[in-house]
Point group: C2
Chain length 417, copies 2
């Protein structure tokens, strides 16, 4: 007998009929002799409906009340799930976040789980019941309802897997696994059988939307394997697990792309200590999250002032672009930048793979591939298992397909278990 966590996202419970199917699948798993805890998101569209009401009611609605409001979405879903089980003659019990013993900090709308007291869940499992837990929510020390932010139900599932010592954490979604790249862009994209936590982390932060990044971190920290599967299809999905020797044979695992960023460049910034901190300090003080940061050491010296200067670039989310440009323009004098230029006509293309560490040629091959397609690179940023290039937006799909081909991602047989 295994203890299995099954998490279903909003699109998997978008209607009463779909909730019925999810209940059926959970019951089938139980009937195979397992204990099953199901974590559900709100029915698709419900969270947005509630958020729209909040926005209509007050400008900048108070986070604590927004949480009180939107947490009802998951509560509705788990209650309906339990009733669907009842209709199949199966005993199930639904729990809200607080009933499931999920404790968080006080950061409304993006709370972090601090502890789980799974006593009630264990009691119900021991009685042979299917347990349904409302994802995305918990209770603060002050007994207010908190939510974990978008995608937080993944985190709930992983955290419950840890707290209950579950054997598997299955994340059901509307795709059948993690792909080498977006199948909508590249028809040769291939589903992976397994991927390491680190690679998944990079892919999540680079625009692959299947898994929420915090839940991957959580799973990595506690070494909980995650099995990403299709909610309404049979068959194995992708296992997210610890890196193993087999994995390292492949230098590149996946290609990710994002069109949701804009680039800001400060030209001829005075090259003196503390300048980067000053620029980023201004941006982050206004709540904007900076992604890539690139500074070129310049040997050039301004003949007039006799001072060294450099060009400084960074990318911000598209939605914060206008605000960030305004901030920079307002402080250009203070910073000592000669000119500020920005563009939202960019895309970020990234290669990810733990094998990259031991394959020095990956970056070179990437740049060559892009050059061969006539694609100019405007920014480059690397980490141990990732290389990202910013290019002109219109080349996004071309770049993805060319890189996918160049690194043989479509053909390579994946490591089999």
């Amino acid at each position: 007998m295994a203890l299995i966590i099954q998490k279903y996202g909003g699109s998997s419970v978008a209607s009463l009929e779909l909730i019925r199917q999810v209940a059926k699948r959970a019951i089938e798993t139980k009937n195979q002799g397992h204990q099953v805890v199901v974590v559900l998101s709100a029915m698709k569209g419900e969270t947005d409906r509630l958020l729209a009401m909040a926005a209509e009611m007050a400008a900048g609605p108070e986070a604590r009340e927004v949480d009180q409001l939107i947490a009802t979405g998951e509560q509705v879903a788990v209650a309906l799930f339990a009733l669907a089980c009842q209709a199949f003659g199966e005993k199930a019990k639904s729990f809200t976040g607080f009933q499931a013993g999920i404790q968080t900090d006080e950061t409304h709308q993006k709370a972090r789980i601090t502890a789980i007291e799974p006593g009630r869940i264990k009691t119900e499992l021991a009685k042979g019941r299917v347990v349904a837990v409302a994802g995305f929510q918990g209770l603060t020390p002050g007994r207010d309802i908190s939510t974990l932010g978008r995608g937080g139900s993944d985190t709930t599932a992983v955290a419950l897997a840890v707290a209950l010592g579950a054997d598997t954490c299955e994340i059901y979604t509307d795709v059948d696994g993690i792909y080498t790249t977006d199948p909508h862009i590249c028809e040769k994209a291939r589903k992976m059988d397994r991927i390491s936590f680190e690679e998944m982390l990079e892919l999540s932060s680079l625009g692959a939307k299947v898994m929420e990044i915090r839940s991957v971190e959580f799973a990595m920290n506690y070494n909980v394997n995650i099995h990403v599967r299709h909610a309404h299809q049979a068959g194995r999905g992708t296992l997210i697990c610890e890196e193993d020797i087999e994995m390292e044979k492949k230098p590149v695992t996946g290609v990710a792309c994002s069109k949701n960023e804009a680039r800001i460049t400060l030209l001829k910034v005075a090259d003196r200590p503390g300048m980067a901190a000053k620029i980023l300090g201004i941006v982050s003080a206004s709540g904007i999250v900076v992604d890539m940061i690139i500074q070129n050491q310049s040997a050039e010296v301004d003949p007039a002032s006799g001072r060294a200067h450099t060009d400084f670039s960074f990318t911000v989310p598209l939605s914060d672009y206008a605000k960030a440009m305004e901030l920079m323009e307002g402080t250009a004098g203070e910073i000592g930048a000669e000119r500020i230029i920005g563009t939202d006509n960019i895309a970020k293309i990234s290669l990810v793979g733990v094998g990259m560490r031991n394959h020095a040629g990956v970056a070179t091959q990437m740049f060559q591939t892009l050059a061969r397609e006539g694609i100019n690179i405007s920014l480059i940023s690397t980490s141990e298992i990732k290389i990202s290039c910013v290019i002109e937006k219109k080349y996004t799909e071309l770049a993805v397909r060319a890189l996918h081909e160049a690194f043989g991602l479509g053909d390579l047989p994946d490591t089999e278990e």
Copy 2:
């Protein structure tokens, strides 16, 4: 400074705009120097929407899960209320039943409040905040969400008034007070300035829908005055309070009517001890609530058997009529009834008034009035402050108007404070 409870029903919070108006009214009250606790029902239609989903999901849906589901309705309403206050620049805090410290027994869907721990509410009031509490719900000892049944938000309001030692409990609704009879039936119906708890109890149980009966009992037991007012109009409504000397001058306070019952008569039942208990035992064992019970002592003796027999009648809710008839027909032999007849073509007309106790002539005058209109009475039932007659359904409105006129309810000046 007074502590005021304001309860608003579903039709008073049916839209975001109406919730805004309710918030405005609460803030006005606070700005007059008072502490305000607002109790809200779910937005009109929401509870029905959720119940419909539950019914579609499972036949006879489990009460515990239905409560989990429908309690979200009030939670949404209070969160939106708090956000509406925020938009007016007012600090408000919303509480679910469990956050407000409302404890109930385990009887899902019609739970009773067992205790209230109002610590959090007091803390927020002391901070100068408007507090919004989700009506209709609480937490069981097992930490499950319970609901108090339809109209339960009234009970929440009264119970909070008791627990907080509130000065007033205002029940806002879509009518401007309690009337001497239904204004839709009798245009001479007059709004009362005050009515006693006992009279209100009888009126509530006789079909007047303004106040939920349990909340009136609760208010009576703890002597909390209830002020019934119109949600979106100014002006005083009706005060429900302890009986006083003034009230007794009027023999009759109001006329109520109900078309939601059916009558079943067992003819020539053997007149022996335990027969009534047996008949009602069969009915109540199947969950049907019997209203009126009438048995005539008969002097007649069956010449064949040498035994006395009697006729036995009772009324049941219209929705249980078919089931009750079936039960009686199935057990007629056992009971020893010669014949069973039933009809749903009835209405119950009732006169209510604490003054009735000292006015022997009320019953006579009632019967005379109905006779004058050619209305036949098929059943009569009385209590200390009430007389009910069952008549043919088509005479309902005629009977109400005739009795309202005969007892001068339209003209009589009400007792003024």
